[in-house]
Structures are given as structure tokens and as C-alpha cells.
């Protein structure tokens, strides 16, 4: 990689290969737009990871140095953040990520039955992806809709209360 100047920011020369990853120009623009919201570029790193993830479904290895270069920050800073936050996926996930709330209110409204029903219906465990690449199952912190427990989030859609019998019909909406 070579050193370039973008939007007034001198970017660092990275010695870590991007593995052939190319940051989409639109994503690069979006990252630089986020960067303008903060006094220092590192603050945009989480949003940058989310921008890449929105396009690719997860954050490929090569995206880490590409983001670092775009923001002009260290590769380790981006990787450190990418591995800390639970909603940044560092390996491929399904087209639809099903987040099942496992916190106390949903626990008290029988989330464990719901979780087991999802596991049985999809034939995968928590943290796994169906063979057709359609769904990934993950647990999530309290979704803040405790009056509707048990709750799940599929993509950006909140559902609750969800009963096990509804699962097949519910998932029909996500191809």
C-alpha cells in the first residue's frame, strides 16, 4: 500500500496485506462522512466496521487494514475494536441473523423453550449458520422490549412475544 492523502487526512502506510479486499468507494465515502462527526478519526472506527458489514454481511480480514488506512489510524486499533463488540461479525454469517434475547425478563417468559425450538427447527446450535447460508442464531442482551417477551431481532425487525409454533411462519418472511 502507498501513502495517500484523503479529505485532509494523511493516511498511514500499512504493511498488513488486505488479502485482495477492496473497500467499495461508496463505503469509503460513508466512512469519511462519519469521520467528520468527531474531533478524532478513531471515533469513526466502529461505524466504519458497521458500514463494511452492511455490504458484506461480516467484516472480512482485509477490511481491517483498509479501514485503518481510510481513517489514518492503526490497524491494531481497528482490530481491537472489531474483536470486542458483539455485533461486529468477524466471520461469515447467514443472510439473516436471528438475535434471541436471553436476559432475565425473556428468561422468565420462557425464552429457553423458544431458543430450543429455533435450534430444533433450523438444525443448528447457537452461534451457527444454516448450510444454505440463510440464518445464523446468536444470543443478545436484553432487547429493551421486555413487555413483549420473549423477543427476538431478525435483521432490523423486532418480534415479540414469539411462541415456538410461530417459528415456521415467521421465518417465511426471510428468504
Amino acid at each position: 500500500m502507498t501513502s495517500t492523502t484523503t479529505a485532509g487526512t494523511t493516511t498511514m502506510t500499512s504493511t498488513i496485506a488486505s488479502d485482495g479486499f477492496t473497500l467499495d468507494p461508496a463505503d469509503r465515502e460513508a466512512i469519511l462522512e462519519e469521520r467528520a462527526h468527531y474531533p478524532y478519526p478513531q471515533a469513526a472506527s466502529i461505524e466504519a466496521l458497521k458500514i463494511v458489514q452492511k455490504r458484506h454481511g461480516h467484516v472480512p480480514d482485509g477490511a481491517i487494514p483498509a479501514i485503518a488506512e481510510t481513517l489514518g489510524i492503526g490497524v491494531a486499533d481497528v482490530e481491537g475494536v472489531a474483536t470486542f463488540y458483539s455485533l461486529i461479525f468477524r466471520q461469515p454469517v447467514g443472510r439473516h441473523v436471528i438475535l434471541i434475547c436471553d436476559s432475565s425478563s425473556c428468561f422468565l417468559t420462557d425464552y429457553e423453550e423458544l431458543r430450543d425450538a429455533f435450534i430444533a427447527h433450523l438444525g443448528i446450535g447457537m452461534g451457527q449458520t444454516t448450510a444454505d447460508g440463510r440464518f445464523t442464531l446468536l444470543p443478545v442482551c436484553c432487547l429493551g422490549a421486555c413487555d413483549r417477551g420473549p423477543t427476538i431481532l431478525i435483521g432490523e425487525d423486532l418480534h415479540g412475544p414469539v411462541v415456538p409454533d410461530e417459528i415456521p411462519r415467521l421465518l417465511e418472511g426471510y428468504s
Binding site: 462527526h37 468527531y38 474531533p39 478524532y40 478519526p41 478513531q42 471515533a43 469513526a44 472506527s45 466502529i46 461505524e47 466496521l49 458497521k50 489510524i73 486499533d77 481491537g80 475494536v81 470486542f84 463488540y85 458483539s86 455485533l87 461486529i88 438475535l99 436471553d102 436476559s103 432475565s104 425478563s105 428468561f107 422468565l108 417468559t109 443478545v140 442482551c141 436484553c142 432487547l143 429493551g144 422490549a145 421486555c146 413487555d147 413483549r148 417477551g149 431481532l153 432490523e156 423486532l158 415479540g160
Partner: protein, 446 residues
């Protein structure tokens, strides 16, 4: 998605400052309607009649206590901020990282009435001489994010945000910052680290954020509901705010109370601060399916369990604090008589163990250890000494032993569950004293 269960006809401006504008169909209150219903009048009044010092004093007098769970006086917090003509201008940050188990109040305010929050932030920014506000919103709140983004654009277009706010000569803007998971981001200093694009580990205090917060500048962090109370205080005065709770509580204002668990009508209500648990449970229609209440959490997973007899107490910070628990966020989680306290405590400690940021040892290593013991007790495979060990851990994870309040928060339901329901834990002790728990804790098991 969460609902206020009082119909619009019962909510009035004088008595329900947080929710009186909300629609029964849950559609958001947009700028035009907000303006028609006293919206942004508090900003106009503040810019004309207050200095940053007198506005801080007004909120301090109102005794607005932090609705994020800690109950610290917002006005007092503001008075501790480094500010003045000769001081650098810093940041006002809204903690919208609502992730406390059992808490669903800030979501409602942000989805349905984002301008009230924005107005509260403008006032807080003015009182603290901030140059910029950030709303730190958890990443899973997609509808709230859309609602806030639209409201910010609308408010900016009318000059309530940006350079020279309403021709006052004062510059102030707000940006939305969305997170990417992790409960610990709700901790004040971890939130600041996350805002800076770092891992959300807490910071040592002092210095407190009011001296050195985001990017080393004075920073005030307030909860969504706290900030939403500020416009009413400015419009109607500290005395009005104090009077909202009548003689129910020494704390002023209303509170968004709620109930979740196996009740007939789970939901939210805006009620005077100091309303009793009995009244709130009555509004929720009591337990469903013929169940009986066994225990309850007054305000989230990091508060201590209480008994049915405690429902007669005023739900405010000081009264609940005297029981050894905390009011926390004031949203009740109810436990039915057929639900196991050991299993529920295991679930809570699994949550805290998973969400530990790993920064300090008691929390990182102690919480998974507690999960291991609780799983054994739940499976009926505990051994003598396990309960005492859990009690010791609850003490050693308590206040002052760790960097932040995460581990003390985890210790509270653990200690109180054993205190009130020891017999349930004792039923899990079936094995002779031995090496049943000698195996290491499997990586990734919590």
C-alpha cells in the same frame, strides 16, 4: 414497540411531562406537532432568561435524580463540570445504551418523541457550555435511530441546532452515535471510550468525566429519561417538578415505571415518583395464569431481589435503597412462585459474566466461577460450601473492589437471592465435599 398503557386522554401536560404528547397508535410526534404543543419553548426561554449558571441551579433545585439507575442529582453533576468563559467547551453525551435487563423505557421515548430528548440535550448543552452533543444509542435500536435522525435533521433545519442557535450567538449541534453491542457501554466511562472508538473498558476515576471526559474535555453523561425531564423543569420551574410527586417521595418528578414477567398487562406507565410497587402491579393486572408473586427486581438485573411485602414501599431511590436493593431503572421484573430463583440467578450471572469487559480480574474471573457454581446447584450437583463460596464472591465482587459498577451490579441479585431464598439453593447441595468443581471453566462457556 413497547407501550405506554395509560390512554392519551389520561395523560396531561401538567402531570405527565414525559408522555402527554404520545399517541395511542405509537406513531412518533414530529416537529410540527411538537412545536404546536409547547415544544422548544424551554430552549427559547433558556436562551432569553437563563445563563448557564442559573439553568444549572434551577435543575439542581428541582432535584432531578438520574433515571439511568444511579439516582445521582443531574443538576449537581452539572455543577461539578469544568466550565466558564476561560475554559474549553466540552461535550454533553446522552446515554441511550439501554441494555439493563428488564428495562424498556428509553426506547419508547426515543422512538415516539425524539424532540423531547433533543430539547433536553440542547438545554443540558447550554447549562454545561458544551460545544457538541452525542446520543450514544445501542446498535439494536433501529427504529429509534431512524426517529432520532429525522428529528435531528428537522430541528437543524429550523435552527434549533447548528451554528448560532436561534440567533443567540451560541453554537451547538448533536450527532447520533450508534453502538455495536456490549452491555458495558452503558457504564459512563466505558461509554466515553466507546464513543472515542476504543474498546469499552471503564476508566479509573478520578478524573471524573466532568473534568476530563471525551477526548480529554469536560463531559456530562445523562440518561435519556433524565434529559427528557429538563424541558418541563425549565418551562414550569423547580417547584412544579418537586410537586409532581406530592408527598409520595422527597424526589421530584414523575417516573416511567413498568412491569415485565408473567403479569396480565406488561407495559409502561408515567406515574408520580414514589408510587408503590403494589399500585404498579395493580395497573399491570396482577399475575397471570393464576400464578402468585414470589419475588421481584425493582429496576433491572443489577438490582437486588425483594419480597412481596416490599411492594408496599414507595419506589424511589432512597426508600428502596434502605432495603439493601436499589430502585435502578424503576422497571419491575416479577418472578412467579413456580419459577426457580436458582435458575434465574444463574441466568443473570451468565449475562454479567458474558458482558464483563475483562478489564479487571475479580469481574473477569469471578463471574464465570459463580456461573459454574450456580449451574451445579441448579442441576442438583452442588456440594457443601458452594453457597458460602457464592456469598463470599458476592462480597468480593462488591463496591470498591473493581474498576466499575458491573461486578457490584452482578453481586446484588446473587447476594439477595441467597439471602431471601436460601432453601432453594440448599436443595441443590447433594454431593459430598470433594473435587466436583475442580475442572477448569471451559473457554466460551458463558
Amino acid at each position: 414497540m413497547s407501550r405506554i398503557l395509560q390512554p392519551a386522554s389520561e395523560r396531561r401536560a401538567e402531570t405527565h411531562p414525559l408522555t402527554w404528547r404520545l399517541h395511542d397508535d405509537q406513531s412518533p410526534v414530529l416537529l410540527d406537532e411538537y412545536r404546536r404543543t409547547q415544544g422548544y419553548e424551554a430552549v427559547t426561554k433558556a436562551l432569553e432568561q437563563y445563563t448557564y449558571e442559573t439553568l444549572t441551579e434551577e435543575v439542581k433545585t428541582a432535584n432531578l435524580r438520574g433515571r439511568g439507575g444511579a439516582g445521582f442529582s443531574a443538576g449537581f453533576k452539572w455543577s461539578l463540570t469544568v466550565k466558564g468563559e476561560d475554559k474549553p467547551r466540552g461535550y454533553i453525551v446522552c446515554n441511550a445504551d439501554e441494555m439493563e435487563p428488564g428495562t424498556f423505557k428509553d426506547r419508547l421515548l426515543m422512538e415516539q418523541q425524539p424532540h423531547l430528548l433533543i430539547e433536553g440535550m440542547i438545554l443540558a448543552g447550554f447549562a454545561n457550555r458544551s460545544k457538541q452533543g452525542y446520543i450514544f444509542l445501542r446498535g439494536e435500536y433501529h427504529r429509534a435511530a431512524a426517529s432520532i435522525q429525522r428529528a435531528l435533521a428537522d430541528a437543524r433545519a429550523e435552527g434549533w441546532l447548528g451554528a448560532n442557535v436561534r440567533d443567540s450567538g451560541w453554537d451547538f449541534d448533536i450527532a447520533l452515535h450508534t453502538g455495536a453491542g456490549r452491555y458495558i457501554c452503558g457504564e459512563e466511562t466505558a461509554l466515553i471510550n466507546s464513543l472515542e472508538g476504543k474498546r469499552a473498558n471503564p476508566r479509573a476515576k478520578p478524573p471524573f468525566p466532568g473534568q476530563s471526559g471525551a477526548w480529554g474535555l469536560p463531559t456530562v453523561v445523562n440518561n435519556v429519561e433524565t434529559l427528557c425531564n429538563v424541558p418541563g423543569i425549565v418551562n414550569n420551574g423547580a417547584d412544579w417538578f418537586q410537586a409532581l410527586s406530592g408527598d409520595l417521595s422527597s424526589d421530584g418528578g414523575t417516573k416511567l415505571y413498568g412491569v415485565s414477567g408473567k403479569v396480565e398487562n406488561p407495559g409502561l406507565w408515567e406515574l408520580p415518583m414514589g408510587t408503590t410497587g403494589n399500585r404498579i402491579l395493580e395497573l399491570a393486572g396482577g399475575m397471570r395464569d393464576g400464578l402468585t408473586l414470589k419475588s421481584w427486581l425493582p429496576g433491572g438485573g443489577s438490582t437486588g431481589f425483594l419480597l412481596p411485602e416490599h411492594l408496599e414501599l414507595a419506589l424511589d431511590f432512597d426508600t428502596i435503597g434502605k432495603t439493601g436493593s436499589r430502585m435502578g431503572t424503576g422497571l419491575l421484573t416479577v418472578v412467579a412462585d413456580n419459577q426457580s430463583m436458582v435458575s434465574l440467578t444463574r441466568n443473570l450471572e451468565e449475562f454479567f459474566a458474558r458482558e464483563s469487559c475483562g478489564w479487571c480480574t475479580p469481574c473477569r474471573d469471578g463471574l464465570p466461577w459463580s456461573v459454574k457454581l450456580l449451574r451445579a446447584l441448579e442441576a442438583g450437583e452442588g456440594e457443601p460450601g458452594d453457597i458460602e463460596l457464592l456469598e463470599q464472591m458476592a462480597r468480593d465482587l462488591g463496591p470498591g473492589k473493581t474498576f466499575c459498577a458491573h461486578a457490584p451490579g452482578a453481586a446484588m441479585p446473587l447476594a439477595s437471592a441467597i439471602h431471601y431464598f436460601r432453601d432453594e439453593f440448599e436443595r441443590g447441595v447433594t454431593r459430598p465435599k470433594g473435587k466436583a468443581h475442580a475442572d477448569p471453566i471451559p473457554v466460551g462457556s458463558v
